[in-house]
Symmetry: D2
Subunit: 455 residues, 4 copies
Amino acid sequence: MSAVPASPLAAPAPPAAAATAPAVPTPLMGEALAERFTDVRAFTETLVEPLSPEDCVVQPMPDASPAKWHLAHTTWFFEAFLLKPYLSKYPIFHPKFGFLFNSYYNALGPRHARAARGMLTRPSLEEVCDYRAHVDRHMAELLAQNESAETARLIEVGLHHEQQHQELLLTDIKYTLWRNPLRPAYRDGTSNDEQVEREAPASFDIPHSSFTQFSEGLYEVGRDTGAFCYDNEQPRHRVWRDAFELADRPVTSGEWAAFIEDGGYRRPELWLSAGWAAVQREGWEAPLYWERQKGGGWRTFTLSGMAPVEPAEPVCHVNYYEADAFARWAGLSEPGLRLPTEQEWEIAADASGYDPAAGDTADGGRLHPIAPAPGPGLRGLAGGVWEWTASPYIAYPGYAPPAGALGEYNGKFMCDQWVLRGGSCATSATHLRSTYRNFFPADARWQFSGLRLAR
Amino acid sequence: MSAVPASPLAAPAPPAAAATAPAVPTPLMGEALAERFTDVRAFTETLVEPLSPEDCVVQPMPDASPAKWHLAHTTWFFEAFLLKPYLSKYPIFHPKFGFLFNSYYNALGPRHARAARGMLTRPSLEEVCDYRAHVDRHMAELLAQNESAETARLIEVGLHHEQQHQELLLTDIKYTLWRNPLRPAYRDGTSNDEQVEREAPASFDIPHSSFTQFSEGLYEVGRDTGAFCYDNEQPRHRVWRDAFELADRPVTSGEWAAFIEDGGYRRPELWLSAGWAAVQREGWEAPLYWERQKGGGWRTFTLSGMAPVEPAEPVCHVNYYEADAFARWAGLSEPGLRLPTEQEWEIAADASGYDPAAGDTADGGRLHPIAPAPGPGLRGLAGGVWEWTASPYIAYPGYAPPAGALGEYNGKFMCDQWVLRGGSCATSATHLRSTYRNFFPADARWQFSGLRLAR
Amino acid sequence: MSAVPASPLAAPAPPAAAATAPAVPTPLMGEALAERFTDVRAFTETLVEPLSPEDCVVQPMPDASPAKWHLAHTTWFFEAFLLKPYLSKYPIFHPKFGFLFNSYYNALGPRHARAARGMLTRPSLEEVCDYRAHVDRHMAELLAQNESAETARLIEVGLHHEQQHQELLLTDIKYTLWRNPLRPAYRDGTSNDEQVEREAPASFDIPHSSFTQFSEGLYEVGRDTGAFCYDNEQPRHRVWRDAFELADRPVTSGEWAAFIEDGGYRRPELWLSAGWAAVQREGWEAPLYWERQKGGGWRTFTLSGMAPVEPAEPVCHVNYYEADAFARWAGLSEPGLRLPTEQEWEIAADASGYDPAAGDTADGGRLHPIAPAPGPGLRGLAGGVWEWTASPYIAYPGYAPPAGALGEYNGKFMCDQWVLRGGSCATSATHLRSTYRNFFPADARWQFSGLRLAR
Amino acid sequence: MSAVPASPLAAPAPPAAAATAPAVPTPLMGEALAERFTDVRAFTETLVEPLSPEDCVVQPMPDASPAKWHLAHTTWFFEAFLLKPYLSKYPIFHPKFGFLFNSYYNALGPRHARAARGMLTRPSLEEVCDYRAHVDRHMAELLAQNESAETARLIEVGLHHEQQHQELLLTDIKYTLWRNPLRPAYRDGTSNDEQVEREAPASFDIPHSSFTQFSEGLYEVGRDTGAFCYDNEQPRHRVWRDAFELADRPVTSGEWAAFIEDGGYRRPELWLSAGWAAVQREGWEAPLYWERQKGGGWRTFTLSGMAPVEPAEPVCHVNYYEADAFARWAGLSEPGLRLPTEQEWEIAADASGYDPAAGDTADGGRLHPIAPAPGPGLRGLAGGVWEWTASPYIAYPGYAPPAGALGEYNGKFMCDQWVLRGGSCATSATHLRSTYRNFFPADARWQFSGLRLAR
């Protein structure tokens, strides 16, 4: 058992000013911003290099989007939020692209139906690349001008937005390729770009997870550092937590296989009511992408094609229902085991010096669902799998969405979704922070999502 | 502005023992229990007196149940949880009723499909009444025996369970009658039972709601008094709350009409994303049961038939999406207005001496959706409408469902539902307490549900 | 092999006058009509005697209707088509019943949604019986007046319409009772009315069906006798038929069991494409209502409850897909076997002296799905099961629906339905004739439908 | 009024031998076959020249298929039915293509789900073209061998099969492009291939259609010439027809506009019951692809993009429900107007010297929905639009599907579809004959389908 590293506030704490007026983050500006702009935009294009035009047009389910749509939508974001309002005489690339590539911003007018994104054979991939080049050229112009903090902040939002879509592009293309009975690989090992190629998966060297202890107390959670964050991470505010412990590593595929063998998917008492209904309706028997081999054991679909399930890697592609059922099952043999709340997760991550850039989310790890490198203490908090928490995605006390269309970015989804924390092998390290709140509905399996236990 | 009546804990508080071992409530026993058994069971039958056998068999939508099913299911509860295990030589009334009238307890075996409850023309209403009499007779036998605290506790659960179904019986029959173009009334004013007849609706005498203030601090919420409560109200535990204010009365129908006139149902910026999708899909333009009159103004369907919407009454039959949109709309003119959290609601109710039995939920009020009688301070906390809170329905820290089938009572629904607090005109006063957590999905409109603002 | 009994026309036949101006049937009038009115109306009420009010309100699927609805709709027919236009000062029973009980006549205004008929707990069964009495009283008045041929014809339509609904009432209540896991019986053997009680089922004494031959030639089909028929049986017109043979009896349950054992429901090559898709989607493995017994053999749900499948009885409750697949399967061992066309069926029936009243559709047989009494030649043409033909339900050459709302009776359904001929154990003998065209969609199984082979 | 050109049989006719043993068509062989093979296969590739890889992968609705799938499926047909059984040592191109590109032949094993054809981003268009080349090379080998009549017949089936898919490829890509809000054109006027470019549309010079008369009598219909036909056109058999008249030209867009203006889509009395339900459910107000212009008039989507509706062209993209409603509407002013039966159509076409190759279906016309050139007598029987008939698609008397997998080609679809006759602007002239039976469900609008009136 580890020591108690987290320091609760000395209580009663003074009112947190942040609760009424969240700190406005200081944006990147100048060269640093321009450089980051170039890097992020280029990486999106790197990601589609292994894909054919046909791969990029298909939408495999309503919740996923075609790669081409991700390429265009992230570009439209800069056109709509930066170039049109801030670059004088900006020539709109195409009058209908606003309609086609707006995702969900009601304030920016009507838009193409989400479930019909896969119908857009035109514009072609080539035209979309031209669109990107056009917008990038004009963004360079805007960046070269005497920029304001306001535009800098918007650009930074746009870049984080694009990084979110980079991960979605990968989860969506993985799902697309998997729906093809040929099970084609996204990567074929011939790319010159290290980011795209698969690394040898690291694995955990400890058979059983140990737990790190945190004492009860009044803590602060949420972001207030002056650096970039989304609106939903604010205001920083106080929460009371009873003492808790967090597992040193995520649940592994080997542990999940034991859950399956013990009837995990056939025992209603382990499941939430809605989860059990989904199990029966969908016929789930294992995580998404797992296939039972004839001679025993499991294989799984990866971005490199079909591969054996590695017992020491974090389990991936499970949804909230499954994560919750696993925790209940684990609690049968060791009472008190459960999923952590998002506050517990954040308190623990902050106490552990969570640092996605330094550690186990090296670039090479960005693109494959592997476990982070082994190490002491809380490991794998970033870069392996997103970790489901027991927290519904709701507003922090005092939360107010920003005015205008960007107010639709996060706030309007605060209903019937669950928070995931950490970051996955498909998340860029520069996109992450300990206060980051990812969220998906309880039945979503196609994200790189796993879990970590608490008690 | 009222004074600050609530007392937060002196912090840091000592660890609440309840958090690890919730108090086991001391049940009613002996005569008191037997009397309560008779009262509660009889009231269910009173409720169906105005109904024909045909009224009692129909299921108007999958989420609602036929009145006959409520009559039988509540009876089956006593048979399954009390008579079979505890009364020796108890003669099962019918070998298939367990299959027909189990609601959702997987631990008690397979059961009839929920959405097909309306197919059960047999057993007849008369046979179901015989079933009730049979079970009541044997329960009397069991009650007369030297009862244990264990059976007493189970009986109390069964009675609260039946009181929940009394309210559902009313919400479901209201929906059933409304689906009939003839719009028949549940009550016709000829009953001798005062509980069934409609009272003159009380109304709020204050045009604008005022707010009661509560200071920041560490509070305890949850039940730990030794009296009955459900498992989901435990353990009592500490929470930190920043200062807040709660409106002295619920939102009224008159205020809701203003929301409608101001385009409330046509402005996407007021709605959660899923809520707006539902508005468009379902064509909602007003609360359930409201109909716009040709000459202007609104009428609504009540248990007494069609009636004018009374502006001073609490608005009723709105769902979480609507409540949330209304709060956002109200916040446009008075920033900071929002729905309260369930913790805020409970803190305020406890501070206000919430007492459903003494006040505005007199029996006569039980059966009609009216406002409670006017009075000073926080009014209408019980007996008018259930109040949506901004809190998803999740487990309290340290929550563990009881062992056995009763563990399925509450815990397995802790996903994608929202907490309502207070109690409605259709809730029995003896069923309520300030810690009571009612819950429904965000789109449910057929309950007696309204809202109260906080800031 | 039987002799060739049917006489084709001497060709070339003279143009049939009927083709351009169908004979207007001479209606029953006076006493005879009044007596028939009383008989038919009374029999409907006899049919509901075994039912409780609850049985009568439920709608088990969109295509079926509640018994109460049948009672009211057949009554509304007389009110809408006879009393309102022809009886001066007729007092409408209830202003909304036209809306509630119009089935599908667009010309008579809007109406209650078909799939929501089961929501109508009010009017009660008792009120509907009052409605029937009210209409019957006024119909007696109308019948006592100096009636015209026009009203007489309309009354006759109304009576045949009611006889159709008598059969539907039985098929629908059978389906309703079957959806109840208790599997209650419609009849319990205590009725004094012979029509309602079950007879001992007759069976066929010949293990293999023989065939009756018909020679090629130009025949006339369709009704032109001056007696009552529906518009869709007219005009009588000429058709050319190559020589054909028709089986002497319907396919039996024993033969169907052999089809099942031979993989009939698992071999796609036997099925129409849409049929095979339905088999897989619905999981059909036997006729509707059949249940495989643990020790082997089959039981089936009847109006008298669960009963063994009798191998010598005609198979019943199969749909067109199944009938077609069976014929294809039979053709594997005896090439050329197929379903007859409706013209072949009619030619054969006319040649055989088809007489539903004289023979095997005695009243007692009306209400149970049994085989007709044995005998020589073509047997069981009426009174056992409706027989699917290979003929889609379309207009006869020169067909024109009557003017006004009654033009909607038959014509607007001439699309994607298949003709059944003969009449079933649930059809009144006085309702049948050899030209009668019953029709249902290819997937309908809840009617008393079987088949007979041709070649 | 024209003279009576058709000659019924002198009756009573001798039994047509065809009825029991249909003539086996004499196939093309040798050079002629090889040349036709080359032509047909090349034309498919010509058709996809204007398309991008992205255009070729998308499936716009379950009933349509991606262009790439058409390319591969028609190729698979030769591989499965010719190369594998008849070319020794034929090297299968890819082991999984059989699974991917089998359409519906159960006898040839399991296959990819129809509705998921649009998920196949791989194989790429390029790989599919390689597949075509591979199969063509080996087919050349097979054709060069001493071929049998059996293989020649199969090849001819394969080529007609491919010609069917050529038309489907066009109807499907038209629908795909239309689902894109950009409304891109299939043709842009720059192709060197005359077949692909749009011709100036011919139009009818007569404002009102006249009718050609046919006398009553016993006719023969169906194919028995020794040349190629599908199994469903056989056996040739006798039918009796009363005298009838057929309109000299199809219904035009101008006439359809009048139908719309007269409330055609808003009057339930004009529609089949299922048709009216579809109108209300789908919101149909005009033919598929028509858009009302703001200033009045109509525009329509064509393979060349949006274009004005030409009043003198045949109306196109209406389904059976619409065709039937139009005929009923036309019958209001001129009683007796109706759709012809398929037998009437064939009798008239044979009497008129129907010749798709000689006349108005020149190659250039193949690819645009225009009217055929004007002329005397029955015009536009081929090459403009497919014409809905009043005939459900069922087996001819004595029909038996061929043994083996090809028996699934036509027979298993003989249920709830309607016959269209003639051929459209998208049908190759060499694919047509007067006995050709095209068929689609009553609600299908995306084919080049119109109508012609009879009386």
